[in-house]
Subunit: 345 residues, 2 copies
DNA sequence: ATGCAAATTTATAACGATATAACTCCCAAT
DNA sequence: ATTGGGAGTTATATCGTTATAAATTTGCAT
């Protein structure tokens, strides 16, 4: 049949195809004798379709294994059924991405949403992938981490009224959804614990200062050392993002000096391992000459010897909370300013 | 204008909208005075469109920031521009997913392909997500890992002629694309090295036996111990997937016995840490009482003390190779049987 | 001028879903 | 008998793209 064939238009359209290709609304329409429109609304459980009709349509749909074509839905409705996790693939925090993804997939399970990883390459501006997603409607919602006090991504997304949840807080006046871990509490407790164990001088290794949680960690640390009136320092020239050998060298240099700290607080597993290796290389004993509290995000430190005190941050839970909150935001059942701060047990 | 309005059909169709919404082919068509079809083909660099026209269309497209609508393309062509990475989010191999994703995003950079994480939940059959992707054309290509000798996913995908690359080999007669690490070489070299260091009895901790690479590891190990005629054992009751405390307890029990091994080969970082903690808890010294070769997939062991011999497997490289190979498969420029075995340096 | 092929461009339909408005019943009220 | 209204169903157009076939223009020889 030539596409210009003048006859055979209107009515049922093209020849009835039976059950050859993959099932569409048309297939169900042909099997039930109902119009495609009716089938569509029946599956959407529209109240104006008779209950009996709805049930019959469901049955047939289930029988032939109908699943809506996402591309068609997306084209027609403008919704993508995609949630984008913007990730810097070079963030070498051990298993950070995987843990988050684990929580996210759990939260998204049973929903029509798919998780798409949108890489953010460090040689392009942070805002680029976000802008791209919004402008080209690549997703219905965005998740990202490493939030900054005046995060341009947050500002952009708020401005465009685009659903998102970020891991970490801003200091913006406008409220917005986020999930965060209580990093103030982490460093505060860590410091108190080290002091109680007898440390005389504490050192904390912070994240790069541009992240909001770096301020929180600093603040918790400072509050504790001031309350207790103890000597302290903040590791300079290195951050939690530094390569581990840089951290090791820095700590080793410091430990050789007379006024070296005897208690370290590490915001991540890599830096904690680097502190331990530095001490080991200098024949200092962890737990006697140098004490350590590390933030733990995996099972790794269960096997580290000598045992080290850790405080656990559940990234998988964070991912799950972020997913759930985003879903509610997109459904309109969560306020803009809704958020979630996770405290360690 | 009512949808049934009889006039105003044909020709340019609906009222010329100017530049309000997001740019489409129609926008370019209106700006250039060319038909939508012509614009489409011009952007596709079809040879039958005059060179001058092609250039003009490109210019206008660039100027207004045109990007094709993926949903529409997908609906029309049937191609999704999506690559699916099927991942068990509970695989707790430290950073396995992240490293792979890092390599993949690098390989996919600059292509129109997006990476979608399709979770495989351990409470559903392994084949389910794969079947779903193929049946509902959720992606143009599939990647997965932990391949088995007679992997049902591989058989299914071959049968349906669906592009894929897996991490790990099968033992199927039909050739198919894969990327693998030389695990035979790993255990062989590890065993030889331990023997050269003076070990009298070796033990290897293997992956669950259903995986092909478990056989490779066993084979490399067996070959070496037989060539050297040395005592050996294969850890029973635990695998690389066991929880780390189970591994620790198992090793500790064994190390307390008279005929304990003095050389361990660990296929992963978690198990290596568990062996070390078991030894530490028994006051055995790593490198003297017990030696160890571990497979390293992250920077972690650079900081582990005492230093442990490691052999490096680059998972990010594997991800990149898988991505590249899959792209070539989908483009038709790689044979079905093309594959890539990565050897350690 | 005329014809004819080659080079370009265009009209049309289609992918599969859904929003909108219109239609068809059937029954009650005027 | 005519009208009105509610319930249920359907026709039509549309999202933005591309494959197919048709139409137009151009170039060149007759």
């Amino acid at each position: 049949m030539s596409p210009n064939d003048p006859g055979e238009r209107g009515g049922r359209g093209r020849a009835i195809a039976g059950g050859s290709g993959k099932p569409t609304l048309r297939t169900i329409s042909e099997l039930t004798g109902l119009a495609v429109t009716t089938v569509s609304r029946a599956l959407a459980d529209a109240p104006q379709i008779a209950l009996e009709t709805r049930q019959r349509v469901r049955e047939v749909a289930a029988e032939i294994g109908y699943l809506p074509d996402r591309a068609a839905q997306r084209l027609r409705t403008g919704r993508t059924n995609v949630i984008s996790l913007v990730l810097d693939p070079h963030e070498e925090i051990l298993g950070y991405g995987t843990s988050m993804i684990r929580g996210l997939t759990a939260a998204l399970r049973g929903t029509p949403y798919h998780l798409v990883i949108t890489p953010h390459f460090s040689d392009t501006p942070q805002i680029d992938p976000v802008r791209h997603i919004v402008r080209n409607r690549m997703a219905d919602g965005i998740l990202f981490s490493r939030t900054e006090p005046s995060d341009e991504r947050v500002r952009f997304l708020l401005e465009h009224d685009f659903p998102f949840v970020c891991h970490g807080r801003t200091e913006l006046a406008t409220p917005h959804p986020y999930v965060d871990y209580d990093n103030y509490q982490f460093t505060y407790k860590a410091a108190v614990s080290l002091i109680a164990a007898g440390c005389r001088k504490l050192c904390v290794i912070l994240p790069p200062p541009r992240f909001t949680f770096a301020q929180h960690m600093r603040h918790g640390f400072m509050t504790a050392v001031r309350e207790e009136g103890i000597a302290f320092e903040i590791a300079e020239g290195i951050t939690l993002d530094s390569k581990s050998d840089a951290i090791r060298e820095h700590v080793a240099t410091r430990l050789r000096q007379a006024d070296a700290p005897d208690g370290y607080i590490c915001g991540g597993e890599v830096s904690a391992m680097a502190v331990m290796s530095a001490a080991f290389d200098l024949d200092l004993q962890i737990g006697r000459d140098v004490r350590l509290v590390a933030k733990q995000t995996s099972g790794l430190f269960d096997e580290v010897r000598p045992r080290v005190e850790t405080i656990y941050e559940d990234l998988s839970q964070a991912g799950q909370e972020m997913g759930t909150l985003l879903l509610r935001r997109m459904a309109g059942t969560a306020a803009v300013g809704e958020m979630q701060v996770i405290h360690s047990a």
